[in-house]
């Protein structure tokens, strides 16, 4: 029974990683940049939801929607102010800017909300579901997380393959110049990508904080890095890859903790990244792209 419990916990944790990784992979796949501030947008999403529920007394559904709207706006603003001026700059400059934005968001949160951790109340206040005479317990929030992960993955895949905007995004991803010649507004498309990515970050933030009910300005950092690892393992740029990588990473982390040792869990997670990169540099589901010289 311990094995099954760990598996459930692993999938639940992995689904949170997967949702964050989907945001990373969206932005990377289309804008070709690593948005290291993604983890901090998650944190902001968590705070917005916390304040909406605790201080304003809004119902959870409204709080979550507010959080999504807030993060989407934040994503668009950050993109406009910090990334758009660097559209033609070398990728290293953009990367460093992203790290700067990450620090900016963290420290702003520190100023606004203080360093004291907040206890986040789960958006779902339901008792755990007991199976097999209580030997197995599943929390409703885990189920919601897994469902949300699957829904988002399917939704994003449909969006990028079926809709006009999605197709425009893929076009931008393949060749910005050619896309522009075909009449696609590249800037709007990339803003759209950031809007979607940040909206996903809000959902991830709410689910993350509901599963592990603590909130502080650094809440998003470590999950952000791990989700980035998950996105790379799955093949960065690939939507199913991010989901697969996230779930795998969650399971590996929980199993490493349970059967090898809690101290080594993080080391193992990142060791897996190294191994995957050595064997399959493009990630599990990533396409190998041969750079044209």
């Amino acid at each position: 029974m311990g094995f099954i419990t760990n598996m459930i916990n692993g999938i639940s944790l992995g689904s949170v990683y997967a949702i964050i990784a989907l945001g990373y992979t969206m932005v990377y796949g289309i804008a070709k940049m690593l948005n290291f501030a993604h983890g901090d947008v998650i944190m902001v999403g968590g705070y917005i939801c916390f304040i909406a529920m605790n201080n304003l007394g809004l119902p959870p559904v409204v709080a979550v929607l507010l959080s999504i709207v807030g993060c989407t706006c934040l994503g668009i603003v950050v993109e406009r102010l910090a990334y758009k001026p660097l559209r033609e700059a070398p990728s290293l400059a953009v990367l460093i800017t992203a790290i700067g934005v990450s620090y900016f968001l963290q420290n702003t949160a520190l100023l606004v909300w203080g360093a004291d951790p907040k206890a986040f109340r789960s958006i779902l206040d339901l008792p755990s579901i007991k199976l097999f005479n209580g030997q197995l317990t599943v929390s409703p929030i885990s189920l919601v997380t897994v469902a949300a992960c699957v829904a988002i993955m399917v939704g994003l895949t449909l969006f990028t393959t079926r809709t006009k905007m999605g197709k425009a995004m893929r076009a931008c991803s393949e060749d910005k110049g050619a896309a522009q010649l075909m009449g696609i507004n590249v800037n709007t498309t990339i803003s759209m990508v950031f809007a979607i990515g940040s909206g996903l970050a809000a959902i991830a933030g709410v689910l993350l904080c509901s599963t592990y009910p603590t909130l502080m300005p650094t809440t998003g950092s470590l999950p952000g890095i791990k989700a980035f690892t998950a996105a790379v393992i799955g093949g960065i740029g690939s939507i199913p890859g991010a989901a697969l990588g996230g779930v795998l990473l969650g399971i590996i982390e929980i199993f490493a903790k349970a059967y090898i040792g809690t101290q080594l869990a993080d080391a193992i997670v990142f060791a897996v990244l190294i191994v995957v990169l050595l064997i399959r540099p493009a990630g599990l589901l990533g396409k190998e792209i041969h750079e044209k010289v």
């Binding site: 360093a115 907040k118 206890a119 592990y212 809690t262």
Partner: protein, 406 residues
């Protein structure tokens, strides 16, 4: 006290970020006759240092007002006169040393402080060199007194004494308490092995449990920044532990309580003083902490007259409706213990600080010297560590209640 080790990192990140409460910041030199630098020979000059602004302000204010209540009582009793000058250090070692120098210029003879551990390590080195007697209400690390296990690079500070428990001693006390009261037959432990406070308590707890034949069925660790406790709690649950010992701070403890609820696991939870504060965690569902036990030297809801009178006086002095925490009681006891020692040793205010220091050291380390106050009956070893009986508390309906009087 120990909560501060936890927050040290946050404080560094925070420096300058927190809006200082200017009202309190100005209170440092509030003593009316602070101008009389030369001692008139009738009043003891007691200095106090602790963060009354910044993120650790809750601890500094508690100690400041706790000490003030005691000073007022001593003065009202009339045998000796004391004057308190409290300086803010914002939980910063450098500012703390500056505050100490300010107090020295004022003519301080005895120091009650500092409230928090990191500044106290710095200031205690200074008082040791200057031969000024120091009694800290709440700086709990052995580095403060220069414990024996520290070694040659951290020499003993014979002039520094603690009113609170040294970190590791909480482990011993907890194990004894659990064994005495037969609180659990199968014990699980979750501790932070990246943190000296937590591992220190854990080690002593394990040593003592072996001596007392306590059955430890599960020992799990975690490190800072970890938020997933499903494995640790799951292990304790699957091993059938009926008591979960948590020698950790309240933030991870709140996550463990939530995880236990999620797993439908309800053992007895037993914490240490790092648990103190869980009820004030913003947004925390206090129902989760229902029945959590912890050892602490002071319970504000206790029914004895001394505690009741102190709670009353503290609320008045601090202008608050909240009950004082153990920091306030520790500071109160510091002043009262010093007053008792001064009378017992026949110390007079016209003596120099270093003469007072020597006389107080002799008095505090005297085997017959005990002080009975709000935080129990205290006596001191030659290392400066306090020995006293901790009180068990249990959280009922969102408030701390004494465990012994059930």
């Amino acid at each position: 006290m120990n909560t501060l080790n936890l927050s040290r990192r946050s404080f560094v990140q925070l420096s300058g970020a927190v809006a200082a409460s200017a009202v309190l910041a100005g209170c440092g030199g509030g003593s009316s006759d602070g101008g009389s630098a030369s001692n008139d020979g009738t009043t003891f000059k007691i200095g106090g240092i602790g963060p009354v602004t910044g993120a650790a302000a809750i601890y500094g204010n508690a100690t400041k007002y706790g000490a003030q209540v005691a000073i007022d009582e001593v003065n009202a009793a009339g045998t000796i006169k004391m004057d308190l000058n409290w300086q803010d250090d914002e939980h910063d070692p450098e500012k703390s040393v500056n505050a100490y120098n300010t107090l020295k210029d004022w003519g301080m003879q005895i120091l009650v402080g500092t409230t928090t551990t990191t500044p106290c390590v710095a200031v205690s080195t200074e008082t040791n060199a200057d031969r000024i007697f120091e009694l800290t209400p709440s700086a709990s690390s052995v580095n403060v007194i220069g414990g024996e296990e520290i070694g040659a690079d951290n020499p003993r500070k014979d002039n520094v004494f603690q009113m609170c428990f040294t970190d590791p001693n909480q482990g011993t006390a907890s194990a004894q308490y659990i064994a005495d009261k037969k609180l659990g037959t199968k014990i699980a432990i979750i501790y932070n092995n990246a943190d000296a406070y937590s591992t220190g308590i854990y080690q002593k707890f394990i040593d003592e449990s072996k001596a007392l034949n306590l059955d430890i069925v599960s020992t799990q660790t975690f490190t800072d920044d970890q938020t997933d406790f499903s494995v640790q709690v799951g292990d304790a649950k699957s091993k059938g532990a009926d008591l979960l010992f948590l020698p950790i701070y309240y933030t991870p403890a709140s996550l463990i309580l939530a995880e236990a609820k999620k797993q439908d696991y309800a053992p007895k939870f037993f914490g240490v003083d790092g648990m103190d504060g869980i009820l004030t965690l913003e947004g925390f569902d206090t129902a989760l902490a229902e029945g959590v036990m912890l050892l602490t030297p002071f319970v504000a809801t206790a029914e004895d007259d001394a505690t009741k009178a102190f709670v009353e006086a503290y609320k008045k002095a601090a202008g608050t409706s909240e009950n004082p925490n153990q920091f306030a009681a520790d500071a109160y006891d510091c002043v009262k213990a010093i007053a008792q020692a001064i009378e017992a040793a026949g110390i007079t205010p016209d003596m120099t600080a270093s003469d007072i220091c020597d006389a107080l050291i002799a008095q505090f380390t005297d085997s017959s010297f005990t002080y009975s106050g709000l935080t129990g009956e205290s006596s001191w070893s030659t290392t400066g560590e306090v020995t006293k009986t901790p009180k068990g508390m249990v959280i009922e309906n969102g408030i701390y209640m004494p465990l012994d009087e059930e």
